[in-house]
């Protein structure tokens, strides 16, 4: 049913495209730094530290989450892109199953996002956060899981989009709210109840929380808010459900 060669080559293609599109490469590397150092350092003075965590340290898990969010969604937009420029047809008329194409897109989106998250983690020591090898590996696994969840969600949404115009709508109504409701910039607990509900349904919220478990000290008002095992369970279930849904939608669409 699955063609591993096809999954490999679909992933290889996405990586080649990523490194060739210089604009996209620069933006995806610069965006988190802009947030960290401009937003982060601005608010650090205003917010003050929570226990032994500086604000700029506090938002690092959130900015890792943001990087993954943007990268995963952008990767899945490539499905729409491929449809508009005809390349999707090349894939659809090949003998590989639709599920193979979905898995190829999932793997490439996930790997690209986790890769960017890992690149961003290299600056953690400069913010006074010392990870160690085990911390870095734990982050790598968590980042891959979160990337998979968001890519699966993005792929599901993208399979309904027939043109790139829909992209802006998605950006404003899904991506930005997901970011602001993720606890990336302020603890979810500080939100009023009627907004908090949306956070509880937001996979990125648990992703960022899981990152906080690894990156930040265990206690204090800026620490993680949910049990780590719950974070992981939510994201895993979310990934499975949306992988299944996007495979289903892809299979149906001709």
């Amino acid at each position: 049913m699955l063609s591993y060669k096809a999954i490999y080559v679909i992933t290889l293609r996405e990586f080649k495209r990523f490194f060739r599109q210089k604009g996209r490469l620069i933006v995806s590397l610069a965006r988190p730094l802009i947030w960290l150092f401009i937003v982060g350092s601005g608010f650090t003075k205003l917010v003050g530290s929570g226990g032994n965590v500086e604000y700029i340290q506090f938002i690092l898990p959130g900015i890792v989450g943001m990087t993954i969010l943007f990268s995963s969604i952008f990767s899945t937009i490539s499905v729409v892109w491929d449809r508009e420029f005809g390349f999707l047809r090349e894939m659809l008329v090949s003998p590989v199953s639709r599920v193979t194409i979905v898995f190829g897109k999932l793997l490439s989106g996930t790997a690209l996002s986790a890769f960017q998250g890992a690149a961003l983690l290299l600056i953690a020591p400069f913010l006074g956060l010392h990870l160690g090898i085990d911390g870095f590996l734990a982050m790598l696994i968590l980042m891959s899981l979160v990337s998979l969840a968001i890519t699966a969600l993005g792929l599901f949404v993208a399979s309904f989009l027939s043109s790139l115009e829909g992209f802006n709508v998605i950006m404003n109504f899904i991506v930005l709210p997901m970011f602001f409701l993720s606890g990336a910039l302020y603890p979810v607990d500080s939100l009023p109840m009627y907004i908090k509900i949306f956070s509880f349904a937001n996979p990125l919220c648990y992703g960022v929380d899981a990152f906080k478990h690894v990156l930040l000290p265990e206690s204090g008002r800026l620490a993680a808010e949910f049990p780590l095992i719950f974070d992981i369970a939510f994201i895993a279930v979310f990934s499975v459900v949306f992988t299944f849904l996007s495979a289903l939608v892809f299979e149906r669409k001709k």
Partner: protein, 314 residues
């Protein structure tokens, strides 16, 4: 056994029948032309045969595989070149081909071999490492056809393969397709708006309003049109029309450019025409029946209802 077999194929869109009981067969090794006005059901039929589209009733087999039940096997038997370019501009020529090979589950060594071979056939081996976005339209076309043939398909589907290409590139592309056909022995199923391309087919099917209205060798189709067409322009077309009706018992049609009449043995008729007409003749033109005439005769429309004007025919 025919390589493509279509029987009573029906496809509806929102209650409208786009394809209404189409049946035809294509033999192995044939070049089969599929013609029809826009919206006649050509693309729908091709998409069904390529398993990109389902259908409501009837049967469709390609290379002995059921398009509905064994889409994977059908897809491994066919190569496709669409009207629009479906290459990845951000990849090189070589990478586009490699992508294709891996999608068709080829071994690495075999893939490298085939890619090298096909790139030299299309004359792109020196550009293999260049990004496709730097290619001209003709080069992209050639690469695309090369890609469609990489997995040695039994049937190559060409949907308007030369649309929008200049005449020189067009003839290069065809030269190349013929050369490949000789070495690969594959069947070609094509649509086109160009008359000369249609004439070169072994057999032609004409589809109109979702039905096949003719399916034969080009010369047989043309034989159905009895006679040649003579176009004549005189100093007084109205008077000429009356004289032809009275003296020759024929009914000429009035066109923008003068008169046209359908006669048998046009070469011998022209001198008679010259004898009988009393006014000065400005120009005369004899046309043997073409596929275009067959097409107009059967569908009431010109084959080329869009695109650049038809080049003058000899």
């Amino acid at each position: 056994m025919p390589i493509i077999e279509v029987k009573d194929l029906v496809k509806r869109y929102n209650g409208n029948e786009a394809v209404r009981g189409v049946s035809f067969e294509v033999n192995e090794g044939e070049t089969f032309g599929f013609l029809g006005p826009n919206g006649a059901g050509k693309t729908t039929t091709i998409n069904i045969l390529c398993t990109l589209l389902g259908f409501d009733s009837g049967n469709a087999f390609v290379n002995g595989f059921d398009c509905r039940k064994e889409p994977g096997k059908v897809r491994s038997s066919i190569g496709l070149v669409f009207q629009e370019i479906t290459l990845d501009n951000e990849l090189t020529a070589y990478e586009n081909l490699k992508f294709h090979c891996y999608m068709y589950n080829m071994e690495k060594r075999l893939a490298e071999e085939r890619i090298a071979e096909i790139l030299s056939v299309v004359g792109l081996d020196e550009r293999r490492g260049d990004l496709v976005k730097k290619f001209s339209g003709g080069m992209k076309r050639r690469l695309e056809i090369a890609r469609g043939l990489l997995h040695r398909p039994k049937v190559l589907f060409l949907d308007e393969p030369t649309l929008g290409l200049d005449p020189q590139t067009r003839s290069h592309v065809w030269e190349f397709i013929r050369k490949l056909k000789k070495t690969e022995g594959n069947t070609v199923f094509m649509t086109t708006h160009y008359m000369d391309e249609a004439e070169a087919c072994d057999r032609i099917a004409i589809i109109d309003n979702g039905r096949i209205i003719a399916c034969e060798r080009p010369d047989e189709l043309k034989r159905a049109i009895k006679g040649d067409t003579i176009y004549i322009k005189t100093e007084d077309d109205e008077k000429a029309r009356r004289e032809i009706e009275e003296k020759l018992g024929l009914r000429p049609k009035v066109t923008d450019a003068g008169l046209s009449l359908l006669v048998e043995g046009g070469e011998k008729f022209i001198p008679r025409l010259f004898e009988r007409l009393s006014m000065g003749i400005i120009s005369v033109n004899l046309k043997k029946p073409s596929i275009e005439d067959v097409f107009i005769n059967l569908t009431g429309r010109e084959i080329r209802d869009y695109g650049p004007p038809q080049r003058p025919r000899g």
